[in-house]
């Protein structure tokens, strides 16, 4: 493998008239489907942890992707999760891929779930990190409304939003922060329009599809599913992960201690171990 998270170039492909940015590298000879990463609110390709992407790239190709309008991608940002999911499916098909594994974090998890629900033949395995189902518990902590929406979030915002409260958690946050800034050629930040569009999408994802049985739609998703959350997620309450594992027929749930929304960034090595095992078994 000659390329890695820090060196692989940004490529572009036309999807439905928009110039979509992506990066693709890894072990293409492993016989595993590529793993598509779907990122959090406003996040782009440089918001992933290189330790996580390069670690997973040892056993398969990995594909980072900016949805329509996000960071270096062209087009207008979508205001509905289902449209973002359909865009991701169109992107995968444009690359000529018949099947992928998909990993979604937070808002990217909403998209990953909808992608699998709406395009079941395209997805082999599903990974849902720090996320929740349609109609889940929306009770985020109030300070999230300020910290997540700040025009240019700073380290302290990420520390509060993504990590646990202990000194060890802060140390892990600083290590993550350093790793994620290692790449020299970074994407531009997403525009304020992206924030507005994604907040709209997030809000319209929250109503229940059915008052009587809100998670019925999950029971039709048959893909093996890996769910991870921190024990105290301030953005998308951890209980949502429990709702998902109870209703997705082939799901398993990991809850990491002393951690929040981004447990995978706080415990990258532990996550890598669990994720690589799940994807290869």
């Amino acid at each position: 493998m000659t390329e890695n998270h820090l060196t692989t170039p940004t490529r572009f492909v036309d999807v439905g008239g928009a110039k979509i940015a992506y990066r693709r590298w890894g072990n293409a000879k492993a016989g595993q489907p590529p793993l598509l990463f779907l990122q959090h609110f406003r996040g782009g390709m440089d918001h992933w942890d290189p330790l996580m992407t390069d670690g997973l790239a040892e056993g398969r190709e990995v594909i980072l992707y900016n949805g329509r309008g996000i960071a270096s991608s062209g087009g207008q940002a979508r205001t509905r999760i289902e449209e973002m999911a359909d865009d991701a499916a169109a992107f995968v098909r444009t690359l000529g891929l018949e099947q992928i594994d998909v990993l979604g974090f937070s808002l990217g998890g909403f998209q990953a779930l909808d992608l699998t629900w709406r395009h079941p033949t395209l997805v082999r395995k599903l990974m849902l990190l720090g996320t929740g189902p349609r109609g889940g518990d929306p009770a985020m902590e109030t300070p999230v409304l300020t910290a997540a929406a700040r025009p240019a979030p700073v380290f302290e915002d990420f520390l509060y939003l993504f990590f646990g409260k202990s000194a060890q958690a802060e140390q892990a946050a600083r290590a993550f922060w350093a790793r994620r800034h290692q790449r020299v050629e970074q994407d531009p930040p997403s525009s304020p329009e992206v924030a507005r569009a994604q907040i709209e999408a997030n809000m319209l994802y929250l109503p229940r599809l059915s008052e009587e049985d809100p998670f019925a739609y999950l029971r039709g998703i048959q893909q093996p599913t890996f769910i991870l959350n921190g024990v105290n997620d301030v953005m998308i309450p951890t209980v949502n992960s429990f709702y998902m594992v109870r209703n997705l027929p082939n799901a398993q749930l990991f809850i990491y201690p002393d951690s929040g929304h981004a447990a995978q960034f706080q415990y990258p090595q532990r996550f890598l171990h669990h994720a690589a095992h799940f994807l290869s078994e």
Binding site: P138, A139, T142, L145, T146, A149, K165, P192, A195, R196, A197, I199, E200, M203, L204, L206, P207, R208, L209, E211, V231, N232
Partner: protein, 132 residues
């Protein structure tokens, strides 16, 4: 309809009181400039302006609010705004389209943070007590 109009008026008074007596709420609105409105499809509603650390409202609707909460009718609007389970009612309204939001959703999110100051402190059930 009268109950809905009264509720929209009372909303201003409740927020004024919060801003005056709750330093956290005063800090929250400090430096904020926002115009929004809450109305029904038939045009009954109220226009609110937050500026200079305070809130004012009028019964006349404006043409260029930063966002609008549009209720199907006054009865639905009252039921959703006055519901005890306010957040769940809000989401049910969005799902059933009894409530349609237009405009800047980032400002809507800020507004949700403001309305949190009007809600009673959440009671934690024994089952939800944690190490955090």
């Amino acid at each position: 309809m009268l109950k809905f109009k009264l509720l929209l008026w009372a909303f201003t008074q409740l927020l004024k009181r919060q801003i005056k007596h709750n330093p956290d709420c005063a800090r929250y609105v400090e430096g904020k400039s926002l115009a929004f409105q809450i109305r029904t499809a038939s045009g009954v509603g109220r226009h609110y302006v937050i500026r200079n650390g305070t809130i004012h409202s009028s019964a006349e609707l404006a043409s260029n609010p930063q966002f609008t909460l549009n209720f199907r009718d006054a009865a639905k609007g009252f039921a959703i705004l006055a519901a005890k389970d306010s957040q769940a009612a809000f989401l049910r309204g969005l799902g059933s389209k009894d409530l349609i939001i237009s405009g800047d959703f980032q400002e809507v999110m800020w507004f949700q943070g403001l309305t949190a100051f009007l809600q009673a402190p959440k009671e934690i059930s024994p089952y939800d007590r944690t190490a955090f």
